[in-house]
């Protein structure tokens, strides 16, 4: 670890915190339906969309209608991606002549993109046409991100409102989120990325003759426009197989730094939106503080582990950290930091190969996802995931003193706690359940690339990433098989929607409740005690659930490595 390395980490955190408040202010205005500086341009488009689709923007929806609308929207999104992948061979914008994608891979990829996971069983440049990348993947990057954000906003409204039956209008929220937040940022971001060197072209792959006379086919495409939203929307599905490690997806140290910022900014700003909507910004800062504590701890361990290298490297006298699967322009610090950020959020883009990380360095991304990606988290998904833990923490605190727990003026009762538990239990069911099946099913075992405990970690990581809707991988695992295409799709689907529905039920139930003013017996939820309590609940839940699995994977691998065992 170096001083300059830590300085980069501190600078990163400082900028995220500095952007939280102004962006939170702007997003609150967007979701309250107020005018913004972009309204003169965007309002006519917005009104036009409502007009052709028959949406009455004044009419709000009950939480159930809101949820059904969201689900219908995703059925359509699924059909678009699946159809494009199956038919891409006969559709335009296919200069590389990609053939139709197989049924199971198309199914997996369609589920993967509507759930904001972006698991890459496909290899972008070797599988997909430009049309599939743009209309299929880029559009769903926008819409699954917008969906995550508006669901979080609906839950926030549940806390903020009193004695109301509705939580907002899904169609209005999703349109405003796309037009006023995602699209403007992406336009500026795309141009920045092209300036840094990311291609943006519809032309053919380039045929080059290298200095030594060999032929090199260089894949290009409309990359920058997709990279912008894949980072900002915490989607993470790469244009290329190597994702953000590919020089065309992430050419410079600056592009890398800004991409890392773009993963966190919207998620962090949502904590401020929460604070503003419930009438006390300090409530939002307290939640960001919980996230910050867990984040910095993860970065420290991962950076230390990667900088220390492996016993294999040390035995050969190779210093400078574990550079296997990392790029020179990022080095150890920017690779470790990126890995922690991308798994703390549900992004899943990678600028280094997690499969080649040290045992402990690779365990941090795994833990981040298993805690439910509540450290800033996926856009929206991180906040509603975190609020579920807050409900549990408040419940635990209430049990200690024997009072009905309350949070930001709302009584937390049996229904909310049950729903929160239901949502939280989905993750271990999908991760541990499917991992257990995969390690005894011979065809699944054959997909492991590494032997020994690392092979188990590859499988555990795959289901963790899928269920948590992350999309990063220990990519050695051969995931494009019938077994993994179907089981991972089920983990992604259940991990996303079986968490959303209980969260929305909580939103509806809270919105209907009366608001009660704080009294002397109210547990203050803006101070250090609250932050410590929530961190504790998260770690205890995650630790009790996943420690045994981690012990079989990365922990035993670390011990084996120190004992000099290779597999």
């Amino acid at each position: 670890m170096t001083v300059i390395g830590w300085f980069q980490i501190i600078l990163y955190c400082a900028i995220v915190v500095a952007l939280t408040k102004p962006l939170g202010w702007y997003m609150t205005r967007v979701f309250n339906g107020e005018r913004t500086f972009l309204s003169p341009v965007l309002r006519p488009i917005e009104a036009g969309i409502y007009w052709i689709s028959g949406v009455d923007e004044k009419r709000e929806q009950h939480w159930l209608t809101y949820t059904v609308a969201m689900l219908l929207f995703h059925v359509g999104g699924f059909l678009i991606i699946y159809g494009l992948m199956r038919l891409q061979a006969v559709l335009p914008f296919n200069p590389a002549g990609q053939s139709a994608v197989a049924e199971d891979l198309s199914f997996n990829t369609a589920i993967s993109f509507i759930t904001n996971t972006n698991w890459q069983n496909y290899g972008g440049e070797s599988t997909l046409s430009y049309l599939t990348q743009m209309v299929g993947l880029t559009h769903q990057n926008f819409l699954s991100a917008a969906t995550g954000i508006v669901l979080a906003v609906a839950l926030i409204r549940g806390f903020a409102r009193a004695s109301m039956r509705t939580v907002g209008n899904f169609w209005v929220d999703v349109t405003r989120c796309t037009l006023y937040i995602l699209l403007p940022i992406c336009i500026v971001f795309t141009l920045f990325l092209v300036w840094q060197g990311i291609p943006q072209t519809l032309g053919d792959y380039v045929e080059a003759t290298t200095l030594e006379g060999a032929k090199q086919t260089i894949a290009v495409g409309p990359v920058a426009s997709q990279v912008a939203i894949k980072m900002l929307g915490t989607n993470g599905g790469g244009f290329f197989n190597a994702n953000a490690a590919h020089p065309f997806e992430n050419p410079t140290a600056l592009s890398n730094f800004v991409q890392m910022l773009s993963i966190f900014v919207l998620g962090a700003a949502l904590t401020n939106v929460f604070g503003r909507m419930v009438g006390n910004q300090r409530q939002g800062w307290a939640i960001l503080a919980v996230m910050g504590v867990l984040f910095v701890a993860g970065v420290a361990v991962c950076y230390w582990a990667e900088a220390s290298g492996t016993s294999t490297l040390q035995a050969l006298g190779l210093t400078g950290g574990n550079m296997e699967g990392k790029e020179v322009r990022f080095g150890i610090v920017a690779s470790s930091l990126f890995a922690v950020i991308t798994t703390a959020a549900s992004c899943g883009a990678v600028n280094a190969m997690h499969d080649s990380f040290t045992a402990l360095g690779g365990m941090i991304p795994l833990i981040n996802m298993e805690l439910g990606e509540i450290i800033v988290g996926g856009v929206g998904a991180g906040l509603y995931g975190m609020l579920l833990f807050v409900i549990l923490a408040i419940f635990v605190a209430g049990l200690m003193v024997g009072r009905t727990p309350e949070y930001v003026g709302k009584k937390i009762e049996a229904r909310e706690v049950k729903m929160a538990m239901l949502a939280i239990l989905v993750l271990p069911l999908m991760i541990l359940g499917w991992a257990a099946v995969a390690v005894v099913y011979p065809a699944a075992v054959a997909s492991m690339a590494n032997a020994g405990p690392h092979g188990f970690t590859e499988v555990l990581y795959a289901f963790t990433s899928a269920a948590a809707n992350n999309g990063s991988a220990f990519a050695g695992l051969t995931g494009n098989t019938l077994f993994y295409n179907l089981t991972l799709a089920s983990a992604m689907f259940v991990g996303r929607f079986f968490m959303i529905v209980p969260a929305m039920a909580i939103a509806g139930s809270l919105a209907a409740k009366k608001s009660i003013p704080p009294s002397t017996g109210t547990f203050p939820t803006t101070g250090g005690l609250f932050v410590g309590l929530v961190v504790g609940v998260i770690l205890i839940m995650g630790g009790l659930t996943f420690f045994p699995a981690l012990a079989l994977g990365p922990i035993v691998e670390h011990l084996a490595m120190n004992a000099g065992n290779l597999f």
Binding site: V68, N241, A359, T457
Partner: protein
Amino acid sequence: MLREIRPAIVLLLALTAITGLAYPLAMTGIAGALFPVQAQGSLIEKDGKVVGSALIGQEFKDDRYFHGRPSATLAPDPNDSTKTVSAPYNAANSGGSNLGPTSKALADRLKEDVDKLKAENPNAAVPVDLVTTSASGLDPDISPEAAQFQVPRVAKARNLPEDQVRQLVTASTEGRLLGLLGEPRINVLALNLALDRMAAK
């Protein structure tokens, strides 16, 4: 509930048209006008022919050139399309080795490469980036140490004084952005092009 069906179809199509077609196509037009070189892939031409991209590494095996990092990219096996074969710096199929920290295959590969490099230059420590594969398999850069390490070999192969080659390496080194972000590095293709130019003089 039924009245949600129309927006589910129409609004989805409208937003798809905006984000999936209008946005990428408009960006392609604007980016192509503002940054024509980058938008096409930062291609480098020599004598009217494309020799590569400034951002994409390529394979160098000749002693007269500086070598990049090992690359783990693959290509379909020409004899059996269900299998793959090693194809370093395949810029149409990026990827890493994905070998883990306790992989025996990785340990064997590292040892073999370290021994080879030690034989080539026994006077310097082997730089770690010169024996580890990159994440993309297309890393265009090596560390300054990795370039300095290769100077004796390149100078000998080209009959140039070592100092002259060393100066070129130093001049080709890019530092951290604002002294802070990223890592010091050398673009291998750019260095080799500069080397060819110097040798031609």
